[in-house]
Symmetry: C2
Subunit: 241 residues, 2 copies
């Protein structure tokens, strides 16, 4: 029997707002459940057990039917996100999608690895900086890279709110000199309370981006790429876009 | 005797705000002079003959000394822009920069080609859509791609203001199916008059971005990448950032 996958939401096509695939049209498949509790998590509805009733256990066939419907039957980049999508049995979904010509990018904090990471096109590893309040298990993180076996493009994405996060990002980059590093400006709106998730303070986000660009250029850290969450600038902290 | 290069400005390091290198730290080398007169040109100070007195004829050694100074002696991505930088004799500059470990990206409308295009890391070809009021010479454009000889990464970047521009971008993409296409949201501020170049209407730009994402996703044009001019969102239409 095919194992079901816990799905929080499937939406798109829209553009990827973050990281190396910024601006690329994609369909998001967001799984429910996470082994982390980041202080500034912007998708708690896909993390906390009290939302579990909103998560639908779906078969790979059901998920792919929905992706195909949204994509109008055309091959598309599927962004596997969460929560932590690595908690789910995604191998059959990826195999099914590949048959139909879809590509797959998975983003995870790097706490859980699987052999099927090698079947992805992109593995975006996003270790959590001090501001998240989570400790990185580097042994588990290394296992994710090992599981990829050099097949997907592996990159690092680190959210930066402050100097401590920035130092953490530098340390991560030094640990993995072969990987491209994307620094993402922290979005404090989720910290301000989930009651008004659509309220993004654009001026504040752009100020934070200027600060981060200033840090990187002052340090001549030319290997880093600095990006905002484009979707937050465009749509605010709204779901489903 | 080494030929001098007409320089409008050299600045950075800052982040590249556009196209495939969005978010990457770079030093800009902007040349003076252009064979086009785009209606919405946002760098007329590097285009119009009346600014010619502001352009400094510099040797490759002088330019590279300034780049090295700005980059703190570290290898950096050099963005060759204009004007049309293909009007300048850039081969010795690129050779000199390569010796020092720098990388080079050149952006041009594709009206003038050179054998030294093959020495670049990135060739960003930006044919001008109907809103620019310029006609594309496809023979000259093809010559640019031929000159690159498959060595730099060649991509297309098309500015889109309206439906006619969008149709043009689709036709360009169909003509070059092997090249990645970046659609860039048009910035109408320069059209409103150069007197207040710092006035970028961020809300309007984000509205245009939402419109363009809507077009691309409705058409299931999944091979396109949709991006804003990030530097305009961050700094407005300000020079030197």
């Amino acid at each position: 029997m095919t194992k079901r996958i816990r799905i929080s939401e499937i939406f798109g096509p829209t553009i990827q707002g973050e990281g190396p695939l910024i601006g690329r049209p994609t369909v998001f498949v967001r799984t429910g459940g996470c082994d982390y509790r980041c202080a500034w998590c912007d998708t708690l509805y896909a993390v906390l057990p009290e939302y579990r009733d909103d998560w639908l256990p779906m078969t790979p066939g059901e998920i792919m039917a929905r992706v195909d419907e949204l994509a109008g039957g055309k091959p598309v980049l599927v962004s596997l996100s969460g929560g932590n999508p690595a908690m789910q049995p995604l191998a059959p979904l990826i195999a099914l999608g590949r048959e139909r010509g879809h590509g797959f990018a998975l983003e995870t904090q790097g706490s859980i690895s699987h052999p099927w990471f090698a079947e992805l096109d992109w593995l975006i590893l996003s270790p959590k900086p001090p501001s998240a309040g989570m400790a990185t298990d580097w042994h588990a993180f290394d296992a994710c890279l090992a599981a990829a076996r050099g097949r997907p493009r592996c990159v690092l994405k680190v959210v930066v709110f402050d100097d401590a996060d920035y130092s953490y990002a530098q340390a991560v980059a030094a640990r993995y000199p072969a990987l491209a590093v994307y620094l993402q400006v922290g979005n404090p709106a989720p910290l301000a309370g989930a009651a008004h998730p659509a309220d993004a303070d654009i001026d504040d986000l752009l100020r934070r981006l200027r600060w981060l660009v200033g840090k990187v250029t002052a340090d001549r850290w030319f290997a880093a790429t600095v990006l905002p969450q484009l979707h937050v600038l465009v749509w605010g902290n709204k779901r489903g876009v």
